[in-house]
């Protein structure tokens, strides 16, 4: 059997495959975060909470309202996105003129509230969410069995990421958004309603997080704490990619998932911190991130 670093090839391929799946989640989440930071300048610490709310929306939908997985993929992001818009309107809007620290701290408080409420209602242990019928079973890849559902996750994430990138970088709407980021007053002078755009963009970023949550529900069990451990890693990914760059966030997410997977085979204990170490190195050497522009 061929070995790399003394580890059998099938093992490495297996972990890389899983790393790709995790990377897809990172990419989708970083995308939402990068959209919000890049276009609004807000560090959304509640991103993990919105991810969690998306998963719970799917769970509650299934348990109590008869909403199946496929409907949830559409409805949960919408519902959570609306919640995000409400939060932007009521709270965030008033903090834009202050230092960005306050936006960060506010979203942090929102995350605490959201997690606290869900915890008191549902307890801290994970709730089980079944894999939809259509996606059960697995592909036998030789070196491992890859559950069909996980392949679907990769496909869905990459598609959504690609579509979002296209929307922002290649369409007129995206151009308007980017213009509003660079110079809000000037853009407004052209007759574009910037505050509404900001609001909708925040909602869209939040909806992306919620979508990731629905995709994650059958994989990681729906729990109120599922977002808090993830959000810090996602931040690191966005910082590595460059906080203003959409493409950077997507690529970094996928690559870091792969690196994490690889580390799990070579030096498992370090797999949790490899992202942070890379982030620290990138920040020292190239503060704007690998693809970003210095703000």
């Amino acid at each position: 059997m061929t070995t790399v670093f003394g580890v059998p090839l099938p093992a490495i391929l297996g972990q890389l495959m899983l790393g790709l799946v995790n990377g897809s989640f990172y990419a989708l989440l970083s995308l939402g975060l990068a959209v919000i930071f890049g276009l609004l300048g807000v560090v959304n610490f509640a991103h993990g909470a919105f991810y969690m709310l998306g998963a719970f929306a799917a769970y509650i939908g299934l348990q109590f309202l008869g909403v199946n997985y496929w409907l949830a993929l559409l409805l949960a992001p919408l519902a959570v996105g609306v919640l995000g818009i409400i939060i932007e309107r009521l709270f965030l809007r008033h903090l834009y003129q202050l230092e960005p620290i306050y936006g960060l701290l506010l979203t942090f408080g929102i995350a605490l509230i959201a997690e606290g409420i869900m915890r008191s209602q549902f307890g801290a242990s994970g709730k089980s969410y079944p894999v939809p019928e259509l996606l059960r079973g697995g592909f036998n890849l030789g070196f491992m069995v890859l559950p069909i559902y996980r392949a679907w996750v990769v496909l869905a994430s990459v598609t959504v990421c690609g579509m979002t990138w296209f929307l922002i970088e290649r369409t007129r709407l995206g151009a308007m958004l980017r213009a509003a980021t660079e110079n809000a007053k000037l853009t407004q002078a052209f007759g574009i309603n910037v505050p509404v755009m900001v609001m909708l963009t925040f909602g869209a970023g939040v909806a992306l997080a919620a979508l990731a949550g629905v995709l994650a529900a059958p994989v990681v069990q729906v729990s109120p704490l599922m977002g808090s451990s993830l959000v810090i890693v996602v931040f690191a990914v966005v910082v590595i990619g460059g906080m203003g760059s959409i493409a950077g966030a997507i690529v970094s997410g996928l690559v870091l998932g792969l690196i994490e997977g690889f580390t799990k085979v070579i030096y498992p204990e370090a797999s949790n911190i490899v992202v942070f170490v890379i982030m620290a190195v990138v920040l020292i050497w190239r503060p704007a991130g690998l693809f970003g522009k210095e703000q």
Binding site: P100, Y102, L104, L105, L106, G109, A114, E115, G116, I117
Partner: protein, 311 residues
Amino acid sequence: MRAEFTVNLVLVLFALLAPFLGLYPVFLMKLLCFALFACAFNLLFGYTKMLSFGHAAYFGSAAYVTGWLVTTRGWGTIEGILAGVVVSMLLGLVIGAIAVRRQGIYFAMITLALAQVVYFICLQAQFTGGENGLQSIPRGSVLGILALSGDRTMYYFVLAIFIAVYLGIRRIVHSPFGQVLKAIRANEPRAISLGYKVDRYKLVAFVLSASLAGLAGSLKALVLGFVTLTDVSQDTSASVVLMTLLGGSGTFLGPVVGANVVVTLEEYLSDLVGSWVSVIIGAIFVVCIMIFRRGFVGEIQRRFRRRTDSP
């Protein structure tokens, strides 16, 4: 000025008499440790506007070092505390040197990420006991003379250290060093143009803050007798930010008041309302950010100044 002195005097008197008034000494000591932690954090956030989002790293690592040395290595109490402070100081130096180069959000993110690294090191390291933590940490004695196992004696020991540090922080803030920090906070480019090595000042402030946070951690290990991963966790880092904001950053009493409120809420509310505690704390956080940005003490000071400012 006189009002502030009177308030401080009343509080000190109350603190001295507290054990005799039937208050639970262990709880009071916990309040003091966290108040100290918040004051240390405030030295950084309040006076230089640097938001360290991973301050628990210094608090917890000092706690672990002190706890381990005193329990398994049989070190004396004072030596153990000093060792803890030294470790947190060094950690502050390393992390600070990396973080201080960036500002604002990036600074916060670096401190956060590196604190996570510290968390995982504590999780993996043998001596910390991983998920189980360190238990049954003996309190020992002060230089072999004054045994600290009694709750009351320990309380006065901790109170003495707290008051000493509190006064120390006041001295630092009012000193020439403190003035430079204020200048940097007010207008960094100007301070640079005046020839001050701004990065160096910031680093010193960071290391000071980390060391004092470490002192608080070492004391906490001895007071409560155990150290666990919670002490280096994101939750604890977030708590101290909340305490300082709530009480009023940039004031002296602010972090103390904030720490007292948060620790008391967590202690007594969790019995009554369970998970709703985080919701309440989160809600208070949000209210503070939206409306009471100066915090409890900050707002009071502002009202007070308005009334005494004569045209």
